[in-house]
């Protein structure tokens, strides 16, 4: 259990791992996440279930190495085991039967949590246009996978090294202005991207689902650290979400809360990298 069966580097900072977890693979649904601890002292970090295979008994995670815990996770190899792997947590996403056409928008590593939802919708015969974006060509992930489940796929990069130069919101605006009608927009990516998307879809009154990623510990509703304000009410993202009605989310509060430990996270990373360097010198 919890063994890494496969490891792939998707781009300079994003890795994919396929984990052996038969029970979870049977229970997982799109929209749910796991909590991982890399080692005995490890932080509890949430990662979306990017794919799962009930028959093979595997769960796939895709993560961006942004700080100490994700970097440490990235050093594990095929054959290694995750110390802890808890899930499936959070509410599975639900779509109304009347949803016939969806616009899916993913930014950066946000394409990973977007993919299982689009895959499910596609299986249910929903027509899908997708926009995926990244800083530059090498940061665009899951292009082939997304293309396979979308009717139309649009790509944007900040520097124009792949697809269109610009932001995902540029394409979003264009598609709407061209007269495309969507029953729903799903947007997953950095908070600022989701906020910008919602600012546009609100104007056109298009229901918009976003996936929130606040700082979590338990992931079961016992700490309240993951609270987000939705429509003026406090919600616990780990049990009430992580998907919410984006038009109602207080993104400014969410951005502020995400930065609460920035200084300490930097320190943890520095100490970790220092230890790695020492280890490197000693070992070789």
């Amino acid at each position: 259990m919890n063994e890494i069966l496969e490891k792939k580097q998707l781009n300079p900072t994003v890795k994919l791992m396929v984990i052996n977890s038969p029970l979870m693979a049977k229970k997982a649904k799109p929209g749910q996440f796991v909590i991982v601890r890399v080692d005995e002292k490890g932080e509890r970090i949430p990662l979306t279930i990017a794919d799962y295979d009930g028959e093979k008994g595997t769960v796939t995670i895709i993560f961006q190495e942004v700080g100490m815990s994700t970097k440490k996770l990235g050093t594990l190899d095929v054959g290694d085991k995750l110390h802890d792997f808890v899930g499936p947590l959070g509410k599975p996403v639900e779509f109304s039967k009347d949803t016939k056409r969806v616009l899916a928008i993913g930014g950066g590593v946000g394409v990973a949590p977007l993919y299982p939802k689009v895959k499910m919708l596609n299986k249910n015969g929903v027509s899908i246009d997708s926009i995926i974006g990244g800083r530059s060509a090498e940061y665009v992930i899951l292009e082939d996978e997304m293309r396979a489940v979308s009717d139309n796929l649009y790509i944007t990069t900040d520097d124009g090294s792949k697809g269109r130069k610009g932001f995902v919101t540029d394409v979003l605006k264009e598609l709407i202005e061209k007269g495309n009608k969507y029953d729903e927009v799903i947007a997953i990516g950095p908070l600022i991207m989701m906020k910008m998307v919602c600012n546009i879809t609100r104007e056109y009154n298009i229901p918009t689902m976003v996936s929130m990623n606040p700082i979590m510990i338990d992931g079961t509703g016992m700490c309240g650290g993951c609270r987000v304000t939705v429509g003026g009410e406090t919600k616990f993202a780990c049990v009430d979400g992580p998907a919410f009605d984006g038009l109602q989310v207080d993104f400014d509060e969410a951005m502020r809360r995400q930065n609460m430990y920035k200084d300490m996270e930097k320190k943890a990373l520095e100490q970790y990298e220092h230890e790695c360097k020492l280890g490197g010198i000693l070992n070789g």
């Binding site: 002292k41 932080e43 808890v86 499936p88 700490c223 406090t234 609460m260 943890a268 970790y272």
Partner: protein, 463 residues
């Protein structure tokens, strides 16, 4: 000849100004001679009022007599007959409301220090004896226990002793429930809890961590997997917030989050343990129970200069144990009584910079039997703080009740059980501890676990 001193033999403690900077245990425990001297204060009452004051009926005069006779091992075994976790209860039981509250010696002077003696016997045994538990012969029937707090641990222990194949499913990566993630190291060293858990494992109890029941498996799945009965001991882990403006500012914690970061994730040892916690210079803890005291004293130990307890009633109504209130004061915690927060105030970057409060006066006695606090008009004032910790209570988590068909619950979330058997509205499903009563005590949860184990045995024997 009984020792007729009106006072308990004093328990050695770390100096308040030393201990409020470390997480080591505050109370150091009796030495052998102190224990014997205190045990001699017990006059061996024929009617044993103390025993009826203990929720699990520890045979108090009997074990105390063994201590007086220096038969420490026998004393321990005597307690163990009815109490699975003596080292824990001797430390955290609200003795002043239970066994000690009805002790005959308490009518004039202080009662016998029953809790301290219980702790002594347990500690003595752990230090001097090898725990020689053997796994009993299995009878080949499977029972599932959900949650590894005191309720789940004692239920599983008793079931294992009767030969059931017992598996505990625990959501966290570490078993122990509140004993591990809630009550701080300086009141209940985690090593002690770990020893209790290890001895359960020796009894043959299996513990599967990282299993959130209601998510990875439902209760129906457990029955399908061959478990013939299920005990729910999932506690009351859902934190309450006040619903006042500013509660989502950076620097506002639930006590659960704050204590979990520190106890379970060991944030006091950051960055060696990489989970962070932010404790500012001035901290307000809202609430008056044990949880509030623990949060306040932990904040002080994490380096806060000033820590306030903000409580809307007076000290008399505080639900915390007397000893904890006393310890908190000794450690320099400042009590702002009859004070109620109405708003948390933030700075331009969204960090807490103060908490606006109003003064309260006590009015008529309310349903809870306490005088109801009423707001004093025009008494708004701001306490300057950079961290706010909310400790106003917890309720049961709906993860299980919402995923189990036919499991009846109270409006506030507590699972409804038959009080005699602890069976729920679902056949073969039993429940006890905080999940049923709402936030209560370790000993009550333990008692419920034992009772459920007996009921489960009866249920399965008749099946």
């Amino acid at each position: 000849m009984a020792n007729m001193s009106l006072k308990k033999v004093q328990m050695p403690e770390q100096d308040p100004n030393v201990r409020n900077k470390n997480f080591k245990e505050v109370a150091l425990g009796y030495e052998e001679n102190m224990a014997v001297e205190e045990a001699e204060r017990c006059i061996q009452c024929k009617n044993q009022p103390c025993v009826s004051g203990c929720p699990v009926h520890v045979q108090i005069p009997d074990f105390i007599k063994q201590i007086a006779n220096r038969n420490f091992e026998e004393a321990y075994q005597k307690i163990k007959e009815t109490n699975n976790l003596p080292a824990v209860c001797g430390r955290v039981c609200p003795q002043e409301n239970q066994c000690e509250s009805v002790c005959t010696r308490g009518k004039k002077g202080e009662p016998v220090a029953i809790g301290r003696l219980e702790r002594f016997a347990a500690d003595w045994y752990m230090k001097n004896k090898e725990d020689k538990v053997e796994a009993p012969k299995k009878i080949g029937r499977k029972v599932a226990v959900i949650g590894s707090g005191p309720a789940g641990l004692s239920c599983a222990g008793d079931l294992a002793k009767m030969g059931y194949d017992t598996t505990i499913f625990e959501a966290f990566h570490t078993p122990g429930g509140v004993l591990m993630y809630g009550i701080p190291e300086f009141r209940l060293p985690k090593e002690i809890v770990q020893k209790e858990i290890d001895s359960l494992k020796k009894l043959g109890v299996k513990i599967e961590t990282n299993m959130v029941i209601g998510k990875i498996l439902t209760i129906d799945d457990l029955f399908e997997m061959g478990y013939e009965a299920v005990f729910i001991g999932t506690g009351a882990g859902l934190p309450k917030f006040m619903g006042i403006p500013g509660e989502n500012l950076n620097g506002v914690y639930s006590a659960n989050e704050f204590l979990t970061r520190i106890n379970l994730m060991k944030a006091y040892d950051f960055p060696n343990n990489p989970t962070p916690v932010k404790v500012g210079k001035k901290v307000a803890v809202v609430g008056g129970g044990n949880v509030a005291m623990d949060a306040a004293r932990s904040a002080k130990r994490m380096g806060a200069d000033e820590v306030y307890i903000v409580y809307r009633r007076s000290e008399e109504e505080m639900p915390a144990r007397l000893e904890e209130i006393h310890h908190a004061k000794e450690e320099g915690i400042i009590f702002k009584l009859l004070t109620n927060p109405v708003r948390v105030i933030g700075d331009e970057s969204g960090n807490v910079k103060g908490i606006e409060c109003v003064n309260m006066v006590l009015g008529e006695v309310d349903q809870s039997g306490r005088r109801r606090p009423i707001e004093e008009k025009g008494s708004e004032h701001v306490i300057e703080v950079d961290t706010v910790i909310i400790a106003i209570g917890q309720s049961p988590n709906p993860l299980i009740t919402s995923t189990t068909e036919g499991l009846e619950k109270q409006k506030w979330g507590g699972i409804i059980v038959n009080e005699d058997t602890l069976e729920t509205s679902r056949k073969g499903v039993f429940a006890g501890g905080d999940a049923v009563t709402g936030a209560a005590t370790v000993i009550l949860a333990m008692g419920a676990g034992k009772k459920a184990a007996a009921s489960i045995h009866k249920f399965l024997s008749e099946k």
